[in-house]
């Protein structure tokens, strides 16, 4: 997998974001209102990216699932946070737990894949193909 491309995209986006938000200079009182929504959106984005990488490695990457997953996850998380604000229950924790555990799960699968690949490339025996 080309690691350079996504990482450079991340760095570029980060620089753009810093530039934009430094120019906007939103006061802290206002920022504290939407801060939880923003962090939830960030978490949803993280989840989608790890999910996408995993799906790509497994060879069943579908762009419509990828994009719609990002949009819907973000909307649902924000909606939960909003509803939780209204009824006084920290519902956004549900989104944080669900998305967070998925990030860890996907990361562990990606890690397994690359560890297996390294182990395979080190092994010289041609008849051992099945890594699991």
């Amino acid at each position: 997998m080309k690691v350079g491309l996504p990482v450079s995209g991340l760095v570029l986006g980060f620089i753009f974001g810093i530039l934009i938000f430094t120019m906007l200079n939103i006061p802290g009182e206002l920022a504290s209102v939407y801060a939880p929504y923003l962090s939830l959106a960030t978490l949803a984005g993280l989840d989608t990216i790890f999910g996408g990488i995993r799906a790509g490695i497994e060879g069943r990457f579908q762009d419509d699932i990828f994009v719609s997953g990002f949009v819907l996850n973000t909307l649902l998380a924000a909606g939960l946070a909003f509803l939780g604000d209204r009824i006084g229950v920290d519902l956004f924790l549900a989104a944080v737990v669900a998305l967070g555990s998925r990030v860890f799960l996907n990361l562990s699968l990606i890690r397994r894949y690359y560890l297996n690949k390294i182990a395979l490339s080190k092994r010289k025996d041609p008849h051992v193909v099945n890594p699991s």
Binding site: G9, L10, G13, I20, I26, Y34, T42, I49, G56
Partner: protein
């Protein structure tokens, strides 16, 4: 296993992940910037940091003029007293005048009472969080609640450092210092109160009282002592009334004119 047979090299999904990584980067930057904005605005309120090098020459002039006001008011009182020597009526009027002036805080007064010393904590804050950086200082609010509690428990006259508390006194935060009567004063703050020392002490030291929350952070920040004699300075600020007029109508007229 079939899952691992297709290599991920040269796949279109890498580009899509890259695009979403860009979006994620934007979101991350937004989150970071937002949180740091909140932190910054959280510390901007309250008395944080060191006092700046003040305009000492002007402060000196203000002090000198205030002393002049005080001495002029004192000699005015003496003149009033000497005028009152003449007749019984004048004496009665003058007594009333002096009482009003004492109530207004325009005269130097003395009596038994207590001294509350509030100082910034010498302790190093245990962390760099806003909570600790704000709580190791004495703020305008602390002085306000102490003065309020003293008046509520029967103090007759109060001064913070050399500033007398009058009906026109404001205690407010002005960056690194506190303003009382518009005059900047800095820590440590001595609050002088004339009144029954026992009841004043008890009111302040009451469990859950106004000093408890300060003592909770650092007991060294508060010291309360009773004194047999405390001298409070006179109020040296303006006594001009530009907008307030005395109601001259009788009570009945006032009711009907409303």
């Amino acid at each position: 296993m079939s899952v691992f047979t297709t290599g991920p090299r040269h796949q279109p999904w890498v580009w899509q992940v890259t695009a979403l990584c860009f979006v994620l980067g934007l979101l991350l930057a937004a989150s970071l910037q937002t949180v740091s904005n909140i932190r910054r605005s959280g510390t901007s309120s309250g008395r944080v940091g060191q006092p700046p090098a003040g305009d000492s020459a002007r402060t000196e002039t203000v002090r000198k003029l205030e002393k002049e006001i005080a001495s002029l008011r004192e000699s005015k009182t003496k003149l009033e007293n000497s005028i009152a020597q003449g007749s019984e009526q004048l004496k009665a009027l003058n007594d009333e005048l002096q009482k009003a002036k004492m109530l207004a805080g325009l005269t130097e007064v003395y009596g038994q009472g207590i001294i509350v010393t509030l100082r910034d904590s010498q302790k190093r804050p245990p962390s760099n969080r806003t909570f600790d950086r704000v709580n190791n200082l004495i703020h305008d609010q602390d002085l306000q609640v102490v003065v309020n509690e003293l008046f509520a428990s029967g103090a007759e006259a109060i001064a913070i450092k050399d500033q007398r508390i009058t009906s026109r006194t404001a205690i407010r935060c002005a960056g690194p210092i506190v303003q009382v009567n518009g005059v900047p004063i800095s820590a440590p703050y001595q609050v002088y109160a004339i009144g029954d020392p026992n009841s004043l002490m008890n009111a302040l030291n009451m469990p859950g009282g106004v000093l408890d929350s300060i003592r909770f952070y650092d007991p060294e920040m508060v010291r309360v002592e009773a004194k047999q004699q405390i001298v409070l300075p006179a109020y040296t600020g303006s006594t001009e009334m530009r907008f307030t007029k005395v109601q001259k109508k009788t009570h009945n007229d006032k009711e009907s004119s409303r």
